[in-house]
Symmetry: C2
Subunit: 242 residues, 2 copies
DNA sequence: CTCCGATAATGAACCGGATTCAAAATTCGC
DNA sequence: GCGAATTTTGAATCCGGTTCATTATCGGAG
């Protein structure tokens, strides 16, 4: 009697359908114009059905954020598994980030909104829990890399704990994502440029901790080659053939 | 015939009253529970009167964010005027930030929300303009300090422009503010600690650019003394006597 | 002081979209 | 094929932001 299992699977599939539809609608019309009824309509269900899955519109948005965070985490996991020196793995984290945002261009805009008090509090406790859990491995993985680096002797934290260093890196990257995606603040700033900028800053921060750069920072070619190598070795299937 | 002038002044005062009331209500009940009608009520005006000032609820929130940004900018201006070495002035920027957030504890929460697409787009073009203008000097002041430092020969940007360096610093600080104020993400993280953390990271980033620390980073006392000195010399009137 | 047009304030009514829930439809095991 | 249980439906409800016709206030002219 696999009926129950099938139902559960179908239920989960539908939830996914709603989330995908919501993301498409946001991509097409902006978060401002997202209507719950349109999401349901796009999936050919009534609103009531959607509300069996999500406690509120905000709940749906947080669920969407979480779903994408899971994809993000998955990429980080691959980096953790990748056989390379700590500094290379750390660089691979930045590359993962770059590819992630390329694949989910609306993610940070939605996440920024979903994590505001107004939305966060309006989502269900369960979704909040899910979000926090989805993000936890990200921190752990990066902390692991920092620890490895310290153990290998190429990083001096100068009184900071690996956790604190990671918080700083995380804040820097998120800060840049937010800057780039914030409405109006940097309107004429190309998203492509921002990754170069982010990488340079991460590099600067790591240099400050005593980490030697992987390549001559002036040599743009070398950096490009490195990005290419990581893309091929770790994320080949996540990048559209160019 | 100063009638017109008086009216204008009264109009501006009332706008300020609405903004202050809104901030108090947010402090008391959270952004989630902010109602336009309650803001009007708190000021003993009808909603219609409030709507003579603000095109929408979002317009009010953005105006509030801008108002506080102006106070922030004002603090930065003082730093720019302060006679000190570039590195000291840069440190004073961090101190300004610390004091600012202490004085407006809800600011980043509100700003984070107000700068989301959903709110930003719903505000009037004029308010958006005002916000962008209020923030511009902040960047200019920090860039000025970086330039002075480069001119004094104690900073090597390593291929980055002063603007890029400032973007990185800004992103780092904002990223940490957001982390600290984001709901749930760092629930058990004391805001007080976060400044220490922020300062250390800024220090690390600047070290990466070749800037020598003002004091031995291990010596917490020395940092505290420096903060105290800047507080007294530059921001005496903005700090409640402790 | 009073009147009048202009200006500002009022708050009840309106409106749009999120949310609910009673009724209809479907599913499942027998 | 039947009836109970479950699921889906979408019209009705609710809520708070927004509007605007009405009322009150103001300032200057007579």
């Amino acid at each position: 009697m696999g009926t129950k299992e099938r139902k559960q699977r179908e239920f989960a599939e539908r939830e996914r359908q709603f989330l995908d539809a919501a993301y498409e609608l946001v991509s097409a019309n902006g978060l401002l114009n997202l209507q719950v009824s349109k999401v349901a309509e796009k999936c050919e269900y009534a609103v009531g059905t959607l509300y069996q899955h999500f406690a509120s519109k905000e709940d749906l948005l947080l669920a969407l954020t979480t779903l994408q965070s899971q994809a993000h985490t998955e990429m980080f996991r691959r980096v953790a598994q990748w056989e390379a020196r700590p500094r290379e793995r750390m660089f691979a984290i930045a590359v993962a980030d770059m590819i992630f945002v390329r694949n989910y261009p609306e993610h940070f805009r939605i996440a920024q909104y979903a994590l505001c008090e107004v939305v966060w509090r309006a989502a269900s406790a369960e979704r909040r829990q899910d979000f926090l859990e989805a993000g936890r491995p990200i921190g752990e993985i990066v902390i692991g890399i920092v620890r490895d680096a310290v153990a290998a002797g190429d990083l001096a934290l100068g009184g900071m704990s690996p956790e604190e260093v990671c918080t700083g890196l995380w804040a820097l990257c998120n800060g840049i994502h937010n800057l780039v995606h914030a409405e109006g603040v940097l309107e004429d700033f190309a998203v492509g440029d921002s990754y170069l900028l982010m990488c340079r800053h991460v590099q600067a921060m790591l240099n400050g901790l005593g980490w030697q750069p992987l390549a001559d920072p002036e040599d743009v070619r070398a950096t490009d080659r490195l990005i290419q190598r990581i893309t091929n070795e770790v994320f080949h299937d996540l990048c559209p053939a160019q």
